[in-house]
């Protein structure tokens, strides 16, 4: 019996401050629901309301889908790194891949019109997230998305 140990454990003060984790996934669309679950819960524990959690999840899913579809041309065996960081005023997600570079001029280049069969992913990302930044560096693509908590200073 370890009664004392039990007591000690339960009186540990709760952690506070920023929170982060990283996922390395293969570029396989079957993992999209898994990442969505992860992101939805991460947004929820950080205080976002249900509707915002759903939207943040959608934006992350669209960004990941774009890496799979465009950067990796639907090859499902490549590596994607997803960094998730929760700061006092915002959530940050960054995606790193080693696929083809993107032409940022194509982001949001198609109007959101009834007829089109593609081109909505980047619009959704821009509408939902507060900051979107794409960089090509050292043969890697890095997309960073930031979403401020309601009422946060950085929000513009």
């Amino acid at each position: 019996m370890s009664y004392d140990q039990g007591i000690e454990v339960r009186e540990t003060p709760p952690a506070s401050g920023p929170l982060s984790f990283r996922m390395k996934i293969t570029s396989d669309p079957r993992l999209l629901p898994v990442v969505r679950s992860t992101v939805a819960e991460f947004a929820a524990i950080w205080g976002f309301e249900a509707e915002q959690c759903r939207k943040i999840t959608l934006a992350v899913d669209e960004a990941l889908s774009n890496v799979m579809r465009h950067a990796y041309k639907n090859r499902s065996d490549r590596e994607i790194e997803l960094n998730c960081q929760a700061n006092a005023d915002c959530l940050e997600f960054s995606f790193v891949d080693h696929g083809e570079s993107a032409d940022p001029a194509r982001f949001c280049s198609q109007p959101l019109d009834d007829a089109s069969l593609s081109g909505r992913g980047t619009h959704l990302i821009r509408q939902i997230m507060d900051e979107v930044c794409y960089q090509r560096q050292f043969g890697r693509n890095r997309l960073s998305l930031r979403k401020y908590l309601p009422g946060a200073k950085g929000k513009g």
């Binding site: 999209l32 759903r54 959608l58 669209e62 089109s116 909505r120 992913g121």
Partner: protein, 108 residues
């Protein structure tokens, strides 16, 4: 995502369950386009659709176009909040015929 298809008084009803995303929307597109070939009215039951992304939206838009091109009808019903939000964000709430219940969809 899974689909099941039923026939009812001149309509084909497709019950869709699960998430519609880049991985599953090709299957949904195929099922809906095939159903549309065999029926003048295609009714899609979205009650158990938990999630839809832009590739799912694109599949639905494509089926809608095909319905219009062939003078057929596409009706969606039972959209939950998540699905409605995506249609709003993509400004597509008005191009689809959307009903709340199966009864309303069958009468539309």
């Amino acid at each position: 995502m899974t689909t099941a298809t039923r026939e009812q008084t001149g309509s084909t009803i497709v019950d869709v369950t699960g998430d519609i995303d880049m991985g599953t929307s090709p299957g949904l597109r195929k099922t809906l386009l095939e159903s549309l070939k065999r029926s003048p009215r295609l009714v899609v039951n979205m009650r158990d659709v938990r999630y839809v992304d832009s590739s799912g939206i694109a599949s639905l838009v494509e089926v809608l176009k095909e319905a219009r091109n062939t003078q057929k009808k596409l009706i969606l019903f039972g959209l939950n909040k998540a699905v409605q939000e995506v249609l709003q964000l993509t400004r597509l709430t008005r191009i689809f015929e959307i009903r709340e219940t199966e009864e309303e969809a069958l009468q539309a």
